[in-house]
């Protein structure tokens, strides 16, 4: 167990939800502005990594209901299906963007790109956390 300052410990408890919210914000604004699934996923995993630095790895693992490894195939499946949707539904080439006609509050027009980004978010989150957990467990 490494020694950590009480400041970091206290701060990480508050930072975790804020960073997670921020990562979702980054994910959603990603289509026309800087941001997107990759950065969002990295920020989300950084939130948990920071928490594990402050409170130790096993505390962070208790926090996670699902092992992050399971999110990798889930994210891949979401991304893959969002690319496959235009092929199956409209006979358009793979990964053609599909967009809704009416815009939704906050999100704007919803398209298949958003689902693709969500998949990327989950994959990046799962992969990064799995890597970091593996490295720090064997240390």
């Amino acid at each position: 167990m490494m020694r950590t300052t009480i400041i970091l410990k206290t701060a990480s408890n508050y930072l975790l939800p804020v960073l997670l919210l921020f990562s979702i914000f980054i994910l959603l604004r990603g289509h026309y502005l800087p941001g997107g699934g990759f950065v969002g996923g990295l920020i989300a995993s950084i939130a948990f990594i920071l928490h594990s630095f402050a409170n130790g790895l096993h505390k962070t693992k208790e926090l996670l209901v699902l092992h992050p490894g399971y999110l990798i195939p889930l994210g891949l499946a979401i991304s893959f299906l969002s690319g496959l949707a235009p092929v199956v539904l409209y006979d358009l080439p793979f990964m053609t963007g599909l967009w809704s006609h009416d815009s939704v509050a906050i999100l704007g027009h919803i398209g298949s790109a958003l689902f693709f980004d969500m998949g990327v978010y989950l994959v990046v989150y799962g992969v990064t956390l799995t890597i970091i957990f593996t490295i720090s467990e064997s240390a």
């Binding site: 026309y32 990759f38 992969v127 890597i131 593996t134 490295i135 064997s138």
Partner: protein, 117 residues
């Protein structure tokens, strides 16, 4: 700016190759990271550096009116960075495993694969 970048790319490539030629496993990885970054910068430089806005056509127009930056090199670099992120994290884990199993970080002592069996 181009000259500066070109010099930097040269330094990154040279440093990367120098580090890869060392016998230590850790330096090998540092070399791979350096040379990978050099390649990314090279794409950036060869895609022409222009001061311009992002290539997004405004809602009330049909064509781009002002000077814009070529988005393709940036997309390529982003892809390459993501790939090298994966490769480098794998490399670190591999080196760590190799070090615990072989008990050395000297590449010259890794010659079990040449043994006659």
């Amino acid at each position: 700016m181009e000259i500066l970048l070109a010099l930097m790319i040269g330094v990154l490539y040279a440093g990367g190759i120098y580090m890869m030629l060392r016998r230590s496993l850790v330096k090998l990885i540092i070399g791979i990271i350096l040379i990978g970054n050099g390649a990314n910068l090279l794409i950036f430089l060869l895609g022409r550096i222009t001061k311009g806005s992002p290539p997004i056509i405004p809602g009330d127009a049909n064509v781009l009116t002002e000077a814009f930056a070529d988005p393709v090199p940036q997309a390529l670099i982003l892809t390459a960075i993501v790939i090298s992120f994966g490769l480098q994290s794998f490399a670190i884990v591999l080196v760590k495993r190799a070090h615990t199993v072989v008990k050395t970080d000297d590449l010259d002592e890794m010659n079990a694969t040449d043994e006659d069996s």
